[in-house]
């Protein structure tokens, strides 16, 4: 079955082994005195400079799933799938000022997770628990989706079945356990070099074989004109423009609320590293835009998605395009780029989820007197559990379900925006109101997602994230991203609730942070660690 893919598999396997070796060796990189603390295992020593941070955050945010799913979306719907580009442009100026404040206050107090910050800022372990659980729930399906990325590559090489994924994740779990955040930081170099190489070659070489960019877009236009779907095309139409902008904005607001993004930021050495990276990370957006255009190239090249289990899997269009256009050895390099691209974010996400559990559930509720070494040990174990959970998601559930969960995850994580992002600039909000707003936003978001059908996929529920405004009684055919509507509900409840709590004279929680903490930098002394009540 797979005999014609032998060269591809050898190249893929060799590169995979190379990064696995690097993952284990990473424990010795910038060798720490001890690995027995979350600062070392979970944040790589909090000392990464500009370049390492650029590779790490770039490898963290621009995942294998993105590289596979964005062109798949463009392949299927056209312009609407290109939202990933404005999304990753607006995100950096939006979060520029917030992230340096988050870094400073985390440096001053030794915070490891966004929920640590919320706990100290609003004096509410319950609110911190809500933020931590939200973060874990949103991250788990995201890890599972990285497996979908690897699977798409394996299918294109004619490898079916789940055992290769299990092996890949066992290796990943082992070196993440040993090396912590240093492993993905080191592997990210290889991943990004491969991705840049593959994409630059692809955009120079493939269009020339297809007769130029004009031909590529004309072929795409012809394809979309022939489909019955109203919203596809090379341009947006009147009804999905607002959704395009709101999806880009909502995704941008959500991105740095994900715990794995925060992990990447807190691992950097100082404020300057973050600021310079806000200017340098858009280089990845450029690559992402080019990758999105691969979807049109796949249309023009006449790629047919691989069929497995009777269903066409559009996630395979880019790997199949590479397989069709490139010589075997270079297709192997391209597949390795995607496969390794899955390992970096999967490692960081599992570390971030493990840290949330350790800091905001285990230490808060189970073992308040846990030492640094005990916390590191718990995080290491939980990172294994998280990966087992992700593999189980893929083995036991329909992959389609992971994609639904990811869709829900974006809407869900947005509901932590008032506590985490707005909390960085104001503590006007009352902790009780923040919890109420979070709950209301979650309920509204899940309800709207449940109500959205997808006639193309014959699904009655969870069919997408574009909510018809006409369902709210507005006389329009426009749609809006569910996450933004749910966030509006959340904010309305939070503001009204805060006013009500103030009127009722309910006490605020204590704020353990000081204004100067939000401006602290590398040279400033780290304040006494924030320990939970009483333990000194």
């Amino acid at each position: 079955m797979a005999s014609e893919h032998v060269t591809e598999m050898i190249v893929f396997g060799a590169l995979f082994l190379l990064v696995s070796g690097m993952g284990f060796a990473a424990a010795r990189w910038r060798r720490p005195g001890t690995m027995d603390s979350l600062d070392e295992w979970g944040l790589g020593g909090r000392g990464f400079g500009g370049w390492v941070t650029w590779f790490l955050i770039g490898g963290d945010l621009y995942t294998a799933y993105t590289f596979v799913a964005v062109p798949a979306l463009v392949f299927g719907a056209g312009a609407a799938g290109f939202y990933a580009v404005p999304y990753t442009i607006v995100v950096y100026p939006l979060v520029f000022l917030l992230l340096i404040r988050l870094w400073s206050v985390s440096h001053a107090h030794g915070f490891v997770t966004p929920a640590d910050f919320v706990r100290a800022r609003f004096g509410s372990p319950t609110l911190a628990l809500a933020v931590a659980v939200t973060g874990i729930a949103a991250t788990m399906p995201y890890i599972a989706l990285q497996l979908v990325g690897i699977e798409a590559v394996l299918k294109s090489m004619g490898v079916h079945g789940h055992w290769p994924i299990v092996i890949a994740f066992v290796i990943l779990a082992a070196y993440t356990y040993q090396s912590g955040l240093r492993a993905p930081a080191l592997i990210a170099f290889v991943k990004d070099v491969l991705i840049y190489l593959v994409i630059i070659v692809a955009v120079l070489y493939i269009p020339s074989r297809l007769g130029g960019w004009g031909e590529v877009f004309d072929a795409a236009r012809a394809k979309f004109a022939a489909t019955p779907a109203p919203n596809d095309g090379v341009l947006l139409d009147g009804t999905n423009q607002l959704n395009y902008a709101m999806l880009a904005l909502g995704s941008a607001l959500a991105l740095f609320l994900y715990p794995h993004s925060v992990t990447g930021v807190l691992a950097s050495r100082n404020r300057d590293v973050i600021k310079r990276n806000m200017a340098a990370l858009p280089a990845y957006s450029f690559v992402l835009g080019l990758i999105a255009l691969l979807g049109f190239m796949a249309v023009a090249a006449g790629v047919k998605p691989a069929v497995s289990g009777g269903k066409a899997d559009t996630n395979t269009v880019v790997p199949l395009l590479f397989d069709k256009m490139f010589p075997d050895w270079f297709a192997g390099v391209a597949f390795a780029a995607i496969g390794i691209g899955a390992l970096v974010p999967a490692a960081i996400m599992s570390i971030a989820a493990a840290n949330l559990f350790t800091r905001n559930i285990y230490r808060e509720y189970l073992r308040p007197d846990a030492t640094d070494a005990q916390q590191a040990a718990v995080s290491k174990l939980v990172s294994l559990v998280v990966k087992v959970g992700a593999v189980a998601c893929i083995l036991l559930l329909d992959p389609e379900f992971s994609i639904d969960l990811q869709l829900i995850g974006g809407v869900v994580i947005l509901q932590t925006l008032p506590s985490v992002a707005l909390g960085l600039v104001t503590r006007w909000f009352h902790r009780g109101a923040l919890i109420a707003g979070w709950a209301a936003g979650l309920a509204a978001g899940l309800w709207m997602l449940y109500e959205i059908p997808n006639p193309v996929k014959h699904k009655a529920h969870f069919g997408g994230s574009a909510y018809k405004l006409s369902d709210l009684g507005l006389d329009t055919r426009m749609t809006v991203y569910v996450g933004m509507l749910a966030l509006a509900v959340n904010l309305a409840v939070t503001v009204a609730g805060t006013a009500a709590c103030r009127a009722a004279g309910l006490a605020d929680g204590p704020d353990a942070t000081r204004p100067a903490d939000y401006l602290a930098d590398e040279s400033d002394p780290r304040a006494a660690r924030l320990e939970p009540s009483g333990s000194t």
């Binding site: 939006l94 200017a279 450029f286």
Partner: protein
């Protein structure tokens, strides 16, 4: 909980009875010895440009003019990337503290 608020070398931070922690004992923020640090600057407003312009679909939802065969919709959005980088670098450099 409130006792955690003890960044000062104060050996025995007073446990405040109410919810509010005691007033902070950090470096004096007043116009005394050195100027208080701040992230505030009018230059920060430049960040609004790349945060808003890519969301205005009516600006670029057109096929023509094409650039090397690529519709305006796509190359315009690619062009927003250097716009964002330029604004971010400008803010970084213009708000950098000297010394």
């Amino acid at each position: 909980m409130a006792s955690a608020e003890s960044p000062a070398p104060d050996p025995a931070p007073a446990e405040s009875a109410g919810g509010r922690p005691p007033p902070p004992v950090g470096p004096p923020p007043g116009p005394g010895d050195r100027p208080a640090r701040s992230d505030r600057s009018l230059w920060n407003l430049l960040l609004a440009v790349p945060a808003v312009v890519p969301l205005l679909t009516f600006l670029f939802n057109h096929d023509r003019p094409r650039l090397a065969g690529v519709p305006a919709f796509y190359w315009t959005q690619f062009a927003f990337i250097p716009l964002g980088v330029a604004c971010t670098i400008a803010v970084y450099r213009l708000t950098r503290k000297r010394g």
